[in-house]
């Protein structure tokens, strides 16, 4: 955007229909520009053009994904609606968790900014999702972060990962939000395109739900929080809708937003006090597309009109043009709709928290969004045409020709280690591999204790947060995705991501009730990518229907690719569960010697896409493990019942690395050893197969009979593997007739991988 001396008003736009406008530089296609002219019956003013371009970008309009995302709504059943208080389409979904309490949660991406500027990109990603949760009327209570970067030994990973982790920590720690889980995954496909997905959980009472709607003509529009600056201008349309190669044109220089978590902390406390005083009738956070998005969405959702006096917006940089003010993505801002008689009390609360608030306009019944600048009209549009009725594309999709070859190249045919010594070395190698090793280099940079309600946090299977100190009610959350499985079969792979997150929540003792997803894919203009996307959404929607838990919201991130090479398709799934009493949660670690150790579920020869295939053979091909959601439900029923009856000392989900890695993690958590005999399978399969619907549990021997009853009641196979033995220096993993592995040796291998690669990086 260049600064002009002449203001392009609505009147001028009407008088000068033939002025050439830079619609293409703003990311609009020619038919989209024609559509805008048809809607307005004239050419758009430059401010209107800015608004349409940013709101019709892929990031804001979901124009390529919308036709597929409808599946989530269409597959809802009455059972799935039962707990759903607010569904897809609002800032975040809200589910009932009992006792009049509700929980809102959502996961969102901030991928491209985090590659350009890892610290600020990740930090503002956290800030954005926290404001979404806050805007629902909820107090934010926990964060999770799901990170994917290039290979650990790549030079750029040592720039990106430490920056991203410091950014997630720097922002989240300063907000006083415990970070209780997430993932860190290394894969070459993310080298030029890291994924930074952040999930926030908030708690509110049913009657506290707030919506992003402007209604009631005469109500005031208040902008509060940070002043508007020049950061992030065009961030949405540029960063989220084109690849970096295309971004060198001068008008499209990417600019990452800069966060101020202290301001956001004040904004949280101030907003909660405003809700508490019932001073807000509608609210929207300012995120992607800033004022363009907030004004048009509020007016469109409320079925109303709005008049804004743009020159009242407090600025950090007075040289900003109206177009830039409309597009700015300056952080830590909110917009509230307030009844006229509440404006003074509203301003008083803001003043108490030192938060600047400005009355910039009013709700009207005109059905038009009009914006004035220094007495002249610069925007006059139907708000729905900006916010909700953007273009929708049925992109061509096509199963890539190479997919058959990939699917037929099965890992089950790879050479397998023979004796105990080789298996022992393989267990060690996997435990020390970047994707399975100790995560504490990352997670120790996050405050997991603040607020004093964290019952379980990483490296546990799910983060568990107490939400009611009186009753002990709590929620459990896990995010998961094995993108290699999605690459091998997007439909099944998305279901496997769902199944894993569901299982992680259930083994912690909570009943899964809702889903959020962050769908990270390559370019939607590539039919092969679009096929992956469509298949993944179909798989996820079908899977949710079978598990009877609704998708309540989420985010799509396209154009995650370097040149023509897309990332592994990565639909990250977050599952939320509820537990009546957090004292009954089940942790992953063996608690002491003398407990019986069982494997629940069935193990098959399923090694394609496994960690073993990748770490040992650098191989990816074949079919991912079979999906059996009925078995997942049965396992979850056993785990939830067992937790409620306090049968179990520990429970750990089996996923990447199979039984071997589950044993490693359950032993190392508290330094308790185990002696087991493998069931009569090929030992390689028994240790490293990644068959689904399985868990490793330990329990006092007095409870074995009851566990057997529960398993038989729900049809879950159970196999007694052995017992926990030994603590301290003598503890080891002893696999009868094959090998033994002292925990000290194992811990040394497992815990040094990340520090040795990243310290002093």
């Amino acid at each position: 955007m260049t600064t002009r001396l002449v203001l392009d008003t609505v009147a001028l736009a009407g008088e000068t229909p033939d002025v050439q406008q830079p619609w293409a530089d703003l990311g609009l296609k020619d038919d989209e520009y024609s559509q805008i002219r048809a809607i307005l019956g004239r050419r758009p003013s430059s401010s209107e053009l800015a608004m349409y371009s940013v709101m019709w970008s892929e990031h804001c309009s979901y124009k390529s994904s919308k036709v597929h995302l409808r599946r989530f709504g269409e597959s809802l059943t009455d059972a799935m609606r039962q707990r759903l208080l607010v569904g897809i389409g609002e800032n975040a979904g809200v589910v009932d968790v009992g006792d009049g309490l509700a929980v809102t949660f959502k996961i969102e991406s901030h991928n491209h900014p985090s590659y350009v500027e890892p610290y600020q990109g990740a930090a503002t990603g956290v800030g954005g999702i926290v404001r979404d949760i806050l805007a629902m009327g909820a107090r934010p209570v926990a964060l999770l972060d799901s990170l994917r970067v290039g290979p650990l030994d790549a030079v750029d990973t040592r720039r990106v990962l430490p920056g991203v982790v410091a950014g997630v920590g720097g922002y989240g720690n300063c907000l006083g939000l415990p970070n209780v889980g997430g993932e860190v995954v290394f894969d070459p496909s993310y080298a030029g395109n890291p994924l930074v997905n952040a999930l926030c959980v908030g708690v509110l009472r049913h009657d506290e739900v707030h919506l992003a709607k402007a209604s009631g003509a005469g109500n005031r529009v208040l902008l509060y929080g940070a002043a508007t600056g020049g950061d992030g201008i065009g961030g949405v349309s540029v960063l989220a809708s084109e690849t970096f190669e295309a971004a060198h044109r001068p008008a499209k220089r990417p600019s990452v937003q800069v966060g101020d978590p202290f301001m956001e902390k004040l904004l949280i406390e101030c907003t909660l006090e405003l809700f508490n005083g019932q001073l807000i009738t509608g609210i929207q956070d300012l995120g992607g597309a800033g004022l363009s998005c907030a004004t048009s969405e509020l007016a469109s959702s409320g079925g109303s009109g709005m008049r804004i006096q743009l020159d009242l917006v407090p600025l950090r940089d007075t040289s900003l043009t109206p177009e830039e003010i409309l597009m700015s993505e300056s952080q830590e801002r909110m917009m509230a709709i307030v009844e006229p008689q509440q404006v003074q009390p509203f301003l008083a609360v803001c003043d108490r928290w030192g938060v600047e608030a400005t009355d910039i306009g009013e709700v009207t019944d005109s059905g038009r969004l009009v914006i004035d600048w220094q007495g002249q009209r610069i925007v006059d549009v139907p708000p729905g045409s900006v916010a909700h009725d953007g273009p929708v594309y049925e992109r061509p999709l096509c199963r890539p020709a190479a997919h058959d070859a990939l699917a037929s190249d099965s890992a089950e045919r790879l050479s397998r280690p023979g004796g105990g010594a080789e298996l022992r070395a393989t267990v060690l190698a996997l435990a020390a591999s970047p994707n399975l090793c100790d995560r504490s280099w990352v997670t120790d940079q996050y405050d997991r204790y603040v607020q004093g309600n964290t019952v379980l946090a990483q490296p546990e299977d799910a983060g568990v947060i107490r939400i009611d100190e009186g009753s002990g009610r709590g929620v459990a959350v896990s995010t998961d995705c094995n993108a290699r499985f999605v690459q091998l079969d997007p439909y099944a792979g998305a279901q496997l991501a769902l199944a894993e997150a569901y299982r992680n929540v259930a083994v912690s003792g909570a009943r899964p009730i809702a889903v959020t997803d962050c769908l990270n894919f390559g370019s939607p203009e590539d039919p092969g990518v679009m096929w992956q996307f469509a298949e993944a959404v179909r798989g996820l929607a079908d899977g949710c229907r079978e598990l009877e838990i609704p998708v309540t919201g989420g985010n799509v991130s396209f154009y995650n690719q370097t040149g023509d090479t897309a990332i592994l398709p990565t639909p990250v799934v977050g599952v939320l569960g509820v537990i009546d009493d957090v004292r009954r949660r089940t942790p992953i670690g063996f608690t002491g010697p003398g407990c019986a150790v069982y494997l629940l579920g069935e193990t098959r020869d399923e090694l394609s896409g496994s960690e073993w295939a990748v770490v040992v053979h650098d191989h990816l091909g074949g079919h991912p493990p079979a999906v059996d959601l009925a078995a997942e439900r049965a396992l979850a029923d056993v785990m939830v019942a067992a937790a409620a009856e306090r049968l179990l000392s520990s429970a750990h989900d089996l996923s990447e690395g199979g039984l071997a890695q589950a044993l490693v993690e359950s032993c190392l958590r508290r330094g308790v050893g185990v002696g087991i005999a493998l069931p009569g399978l090929d030992p390689l399969v028994a240790l490293f197969s990644e068959s689904t619907s399985r868990a490793l549990v330990s329990l006092p021997t007095t409870q074995e009979v009851r566990l057997a009853e529960l398993c038989s009641e729900h049809g879950v196979p159970s196999t007694r593997l052995g017992e926990t033995v030994g603590i301290g220096g003598a503890a080891e993993i002893d696999v009868a007739a094959l090998f033994n592995l002292p925990l000290d040796e194992l811990r040394a291998a497992w815990s040094t991988t990340l520090p040795s690669a990243l310290d002093n990086a």
């Binding site: 902390k265 997670t443 940079q445 204790y449 004093g452």
Partner: protein
């Protein structure tokens, strides 16, 4: 018994500190940074967080808040004051305690369960511990490295004013592994780790932190 917990803009562990005070059996009284009224409290906790966004320097702005004027005079008269993490930084900035806290030597924020040795049980906040007792609290800070000049360190050691020291690897580069110190009188204690996060078995590493809060109750009763 009334224990005040100050909320500055950017305080984060104020809710946790109030919970710890209540669990110890006292009334937790919220104190607002913008007032110099201490509401008749018997003791004050300055909680962790990022008061005023840590702008300028941790604790540097909080020192000038109205409430700190009142806390500083009360502390000089003998009122028990515990500064935790950011609260410790504020006490140093307020010259109620000597030395300063600087960025961790690792240059990274660290959050972990941390072993400590209690080395002074004569303070208002540690009388319920036994001398040289080893406890586990939560440590979480970005700027927790305790530094002071040689003369100050020597004086702290000579006068037995090191209240707690880190066990094992030094987590943040603190001189002489110092995790907490007190003033000459023993009523003002600054501690980098967080006792308020270790007051129940469910949501922290055990209950080793509780006695900071029960200690002060006896101190106030005895006073």
């Amino acid at each position: 018994m009334r224990v005040g917990v100050v909320t500055f803009p950017g305080s984060l562990d104020d809710v946790d500190a109030r919970r710890a005070v209540r669990l110890a059996g006292a009334d937790a009284v919220p104190l607002w940074h913008g007032t110099d009224e201490l509401a008749g409290v018997d003791a004050v906790v300055l909680p962790g967080g990022f008061s005023y966004g840590d702008y300028l320097r941790c604790g540097a702005i909080a020192r000038f808040s109205p409430v700190m004027g009142a806390v500083t005079s009360a502390a000089r008269r003998g009122m028990p004051v515990l500064g935790i993490c950011n609260g410790f930084q504020i006490l140093c900035e307020s010259n109620l305690l000597p030395g300063a806290l600087v960025r961790n030597d690792s240059r990274r924020f660290v959050c972990r369960d941390q072993g400590l040795r209690i080395e002074n049980t004569a303070t208002a906040w540690t009388s319920a511990y036994t001398l040289r007792e080893e406890v586990t609290l939560v440590l979480k800070n970005g700027e927790g490295g305790y530094v002071a000049n040689a003369a100050t360190l020597q004086r702290l050691e000579d006068e037995g004013r090191v209240v707690a020291r880190y066990l094992g690897d030094n987590p943040n580069g603190s001189m002489r592994e110092i995790a907490g110190i007190c003033n000459e009188r023993g009523n003002v204690v600054g501690l980098m780790p967080h006792p308020e996060h270790a007051v129940n078995d469910l949501c922290g590493p055990g209950t080793d932190g509780s006695r900071f809060f029960t200690s002060v109750l006896s101190a106030v009763v005895a006073a």
